[in-house]
Amino acid sequence: MIHTEEMIRLTINGQPHHFETLTNVTQLIEHLELQGKRIAIERNGEIVPRSQFSEQFLADGDQLEVVVAVGGG
């Protein structure tokens, strides 16, 4: 795989992902086909508020957690 200047490597929910065109969290959500879903995102241990999805720019090496509500007791 060719590593260009723009390529970023993200760890999402513990799994490695490579992206070439991504810049912000909104684009990541679209790429993951999660738009419209009720999710919450943590980036490098910090919550990314929904209002900041298009302002938060992703960087190489970012660790992301993307969570949903599931059944539990």
């Binding site: 969570v67 949903v68 059944g71 007791g73």
Partner: protein
Amino acid sequence: MDQLIIAGKAYSSRLLVGTGKYKDFTETRMAIEASGAQIITVAIRRTNIGQHANEPSLLEAVPPSQYTLLPNTAGCYTVEDAVRTLRLARELLDGHSLVKLEVLGDPETLFPNMVETIKAAEILVKEDFQVMVYTSDDPIIARQLEEIGCVAVMPLASLIGSGMGILNPWNLQIIIDNAKIPVLVDAGVGTASDAAIAMELGCDGVLMNTAIAAAQNPVLMATAMRKAVEAGREAYLAGRMAKKLYSASPSSPVNGVIASTGIQATGGKG
């Protein structure tokens, strides 16, 4: 009107239920409706990336507009994981701050690690979470959790998912007698009588999941639990009669019993 007040909000139902272990979301929804519960626990988990993009979501079956959702930290074994999970939950649920904290200490028994639970509770209370906390049935720990600022203490009746019922009513009684915040039995209830006993002891509520979800007929069990919690609460409020270990006391008149033998009967039951 007899209401359960948690963190300043009133609830008419004293039964809280989980959403795990149901066969599908339809069964989840039907059981929860039958239970009459208003506070519903949910877990927070990593979403499946790139899979099942259109699978139904739990929050469509139990919409936050209809229920008070109580996100939990089930499966968390460290302070950090529990706190991060609830920060994510608050973001997920639009700033909703009522949460269920549990920090586990052992994967076999799912016993809570109370040292870590206390540390996590301190952080969460400082961050303005309203913390309902799962705890062992130690009255001193329960008191400390109240002092930290938790809004409810939730001692186990027996191990999570065990259905073993209330194994130490005496400890629960001490916790109930001393707490100024609501005390809810969380974990261990197996059937309706367990829930009724918890409420008769004076618990403010009961939280359960497996007892309903793992019943042969979960929807019917949910109805039974609703009635049991209501019956136990009413019995508690009514104030039970004193127990008399050695002296029977007839309900019917002692005098006027027909007697052919000349032996004076002493009434009898009924």
